[in-house]
Symmetry: C2
Subunit: 408 residues, 2 copies
C-alpha cells in the first residue's frame, strides 16, 4: 500500500550523493540567514561541500546538513514548510539526536503567533473530514501495530510514574478518563472519534456502561468491531462508521479523545451543538485534545504531510465556541503536555525499531516523514509549543457534579 | 460606625406597618407580571392588603410579600436592582428559607446573558479601586469577626468532607493552594490582595517561604501586620498597603485569592503584565476567583450595595487577557462552586447568630442587605449562576511543571 502524497524514492537518491558544485557566496549567505533564525540553538549547519557554521556559543549537539541548493533556498524561503520537505526527501539530513536537536531549534524560534498570514485553514465539511481521516488513519492497521501499544491507543498516555511502560500508561489514561467522567454501571456513553475502539471497550468492560462510538475511518471501525466480537462486548459497545455530526440520542457522558484537533475551528460551534443535544441534564463531557497557549495555525508541514485539516486550539477558543453557547460549566482542566512528550518518545523509539518494516510497507521518504513528525511532536510538547488538555464539563445547573476531583 | 450608602431606619419603619390602601387592578397586574417572570418557581407572592398569587404548580416554599406600591413597581421595572433595594429597606419581605427561595427564583430566571444593555461597568483606576476596597473591606474587623472563621478568611473554603467545620475547610483551602503552587522552603511568593493575611502567614509558617502580600484595605493590613508580629512571622511576611499594580521584584510564585473579581475587566491586561514581570522563569501562578460560564455583568444590586466595581469573568476572558499575551500555560483548573455555596451557608448561619451585634454596629437596613447578599450568593453558587475557579499557570517554556496534580 502506498500512502498518498508522499513523494518516494528521492530520499535514497540523496542519501549518499553530493552535488558536484562547490557552495557559492549566495549559498553561504543563505545558510548564515538560517543560522541567524536559529539564534542561540546549539546546532551545527553544514552545506553539501563541507562548508560549516558552528553555533554562536558552546559545542553543537549535532549537525543539520543541507545537500542541495534547492533545499537550502526552499528552507530559507519557508522554513516551517520546507525544512520538513527537505528532511523527508533526504536533501536535508540530521546527525545527532533528532528530538533533542528539534527541541534546541524550537526554543530558539519565535513564538507561533508570528507566523505568515497566508497560513489559513479551510472548513472541514463532512466529505473533507472523511478524506482527511482516510489519509492518516487508513494507512493500515498493520502499520500502526508496528509502533503503538497493544491496545492500539493513538493519543497521549498518562504516566503515573515516568518509568511506566507505554502499555500501562495507556491503560492508566483510559482509567483516568473514566474516573474523571465518574462513569456508573448502566450509564450510556457516546464517543466522538473512537480510534481502534480501545477506550469504548475499556469503559464497557471496566465501568459497566454501554457505548456508541463514532469514527470515520473504515479501517479502524472494522478493527474495533472485530475486537468487540472477539471479546464478547458487541452487545455493550456499538461502533458506528459515521461523522460525529450524525450522533443521535441522549447520553450520560460524551467523550472525545484526540478528535477535536480534526474538527477544525469553524466547526467548533457545531461540535458544541452536538455535545449539547447528546447530553442529558446530569450529563458530563470530557474533551481531550492537543492545544496551544496562543492561537496559531498548526505547523504547515504537519498539515501538508501528516494531518490535513488539523488545528490545535487554545482553551479560550474551545470554551468560547464549544462550551459557553450552551452554558456548559468547566469543572476541571488538566494539562498533560509532558505526558505527551513521553508518549511520543515511546512511539518514536518503537517506530525506529520497526523502521525497516515501515520502509517495506511504504518507502524511505514515508519513514523519514514519520520519524520527523514523531520527533518534532515530541519536541513541541517538551518545549511547551504544544499542550495536551483534558477538560471536564457539565451542564451549568447540574448539581450532581463532584465535590472533589480525581488525580492520576 | 456607619457603612456608607446604606439608607437606614426605613427597614424598621416597614417591618410592622401596612399602607392603608387596598391593592388596585394595576397593582395586581404588576404582581402577575412578576409571577410570570418567576415562571415555575414554587414561591407565593403577596401584596400589602393580603392579595396572594400562588405558584403555578405545587405548594409554595415560602412567601415574598410586597409592602408598598413603590416597591412593587420598582421591582417590576428593574428586578435585578430593585428586589434587593426593596428587601434591604424592608418594603419587600420574605417568609421561608431565604437561600432556598432565592435558589427557586434564580432557577426560573433567564440566563444572565439576557441582561439590559445599560449595565455597563467603569474602569477601576487606582483611586476608584481604593475607594471600592474601603467601602467593603473597611467595614471594621469587628464586624467580619462576627461571622468569619478564626483565621478571618473571606474567600471560598475547601471542604474535604461536606461536614467539615468552616475553620477546618479554610485551613484545607489554604493548604490546597500551597500544594497546587508546589511551594518549596526558601521560595519567594508575592500575593496580590491578601485580606487579613491568613494565607500569607500560612504559607510562611507551613511551607517555609517568604511572602510579600499587597492589599489596599488599611484595616486589613493593620490587622495582618499585628498578627505577623504576634506570631513572630514579620521577618518572613511583609504586608504592603498598596495596589497590586505597584508590585515590584521577581518571585517563584504569584498568588491571588479573591481579588481578580475586583480588578475589573478593562484592567486584566495590566493584571497579566504584573504577573508576567513578577514571575521568574520557573514561576507558578495561582488565581482563585469568582467566575461565570457566560460573560455578564455582576448583579446590579450587588454592585450598588456590596461590591462596587466588581466583575466575575469567564475563564475565556481571563485566559485571553491575562494569560495568553505572555504565553502562560494553563496547567490546572478546578471549579469549586459547591464549596462556595457551602462556605456561604456557614457565613450566613454565623451572621444570623450575630445579627443583633451587626444591627448594633450598623442598623437593620445594613443587616438585611448583608443577609440578602450572603443568601443570594449562596443561591447563585448552588444553582450554577456563579462559579469558583482555581487556575494554576506557569511559563510556556517551564519544564519544572509537575507530572501529576494534587487533589484535596
Amino acid at each position: 500500500m502506498k500512502a498518498p502524497d508522499y513523494p518516494h524514492t528521492r530520499a535514497t537518491l540523496y542519501a549518499d550523493a553530493r552535488p558536484a558544485t562547490a557552495s557559492t557566496a549566495a549559498d553561504r549567505w543563505a545558510l548564515r540567514r538560517i543560522r541567524a533564525q536559529l539564534g542561540a540553538a546549539a546546532v551545527r549547519l553544514a552545506l553539501w561541500d563541507g562548508f560549516v557554521l558552528e553555533p554562536a556559543r558552546g559545542p553543537a549537539l549535532g549537525t543539520i546538513s543541507v545537500r542541495t541548493r534547492r533545499a537550502l533556498f526552499s528552507w530559507l524561503w519557508d522554513p516551517e514548510l520546507n525544512f520538513g520537505e527537505g528532511y523527508m526527501e533526504g536533501s536535508i539530513d540530521i546527525h545527532g539526536d533528532l528530538p533533542r536537536l528539534l527541541e534546541e531549534s524550537y526554543r530558539a524560534l519565535p513564538s507561533p503567533g508570528a507566523r505568515p498570514w497566508w497560513r489559513s485553514q479551510p472548513v472541514n465539511d463532512v466529505r473533507a473530514a472523511r478524506e482527511h481521516v482516510h489519509r492518516h488513519y487508513d494507512l493500515g492497521n498493520d502499520f500502526y501495530r508496528l509502533w503503538l501499544d497493544r491496545e492500539m491507543v493513538y493519543t497521549c498516555a498518562y504516566f503515573p510514574e515516568r518509568t511506566a511502560s507505554l502499555e500501562d500508561a495507556q491503560l492508566a489514561k483510559m482509567d483516568l478518563v473514566c474516573r474523571k467522567l465518574r462513569l456508573q454501571p448502566g450509564e450510556r456513553v457516546v464517543e466522538a472519534g473512537c480510534g481502534w475502539g480501545s477506550l469504548a471497550l475499556h469503559m464497557a468492560r471496566h465501568y459497566g456502561v454501554t457505548v456508541r462510538a463514532f469514527n470515520l475511518s473504515s479501517e479502524q471501525i472494522a478493527y474495533a468491531r472485530a475486537r468487540a466480537r472477539e471479546e464478547a462486548m458487541a452487545w455493550r459497545v456499538e461502533f458506528v462508521e459515521d461523522d460525529y455530526r450524525n450522533i443521535t440520542g441522549q447520553y450520560d457522558a460524551f467523550v472525545s479523545v484526540g478528535m477535536l484537533e480534526h474538527v477544525g475551528k469553524p466547526d467548533y460551534g457545531t461540535f458544541g451543538d452536538v455535545m449539547h443535544r447528546s447530553l442529558n441534564g446530569a450529563g458530563r463531557a470530557l474533551l481531550h485534545f492537543i492545544g496551544r497557549n496562543q492561537a496559531a495555525p498548526l505547523n504547515a508541514w504537519i498539515r501538508k504531510r501528516i494531518f490535513p485539516g488539523a488545528y490545535a486550539p487554545t482553551l479560550r477558543e474551545v470554551f468560547e465556541r464549544v462550551l459557553e453557547p450552551h452554558d456548559f460549566s468547566v469543572l476541571d482542566v488538566e494539562n498533560l503536555r509532558l505526558h505527551y512528550a513521553k508518549t511520543l518518545e515511546h512511539w518514536r523509539l518503537r517506530f525506529d525499531r520497526s523502521r525497516g518494516a515501515a520502509v517495506a510497507m511504504f518507502d524511505e521518504t514515508f519513514a523519514r516523514a514519520w520519524e520527523l513528525y514523531l520527533a518534532g511532536s515530541q519536541a513541541s510538547f517538551s518545549t511547551g509549543g504544544m499542550q495536551l488538555f483534558q477538560v471536564v464539563a457539565a451542564r451549568g445547573a447540574a448539581n450532581s457534579i463532584p465535590w472533589t476531583r480525581v488525580s492520576g
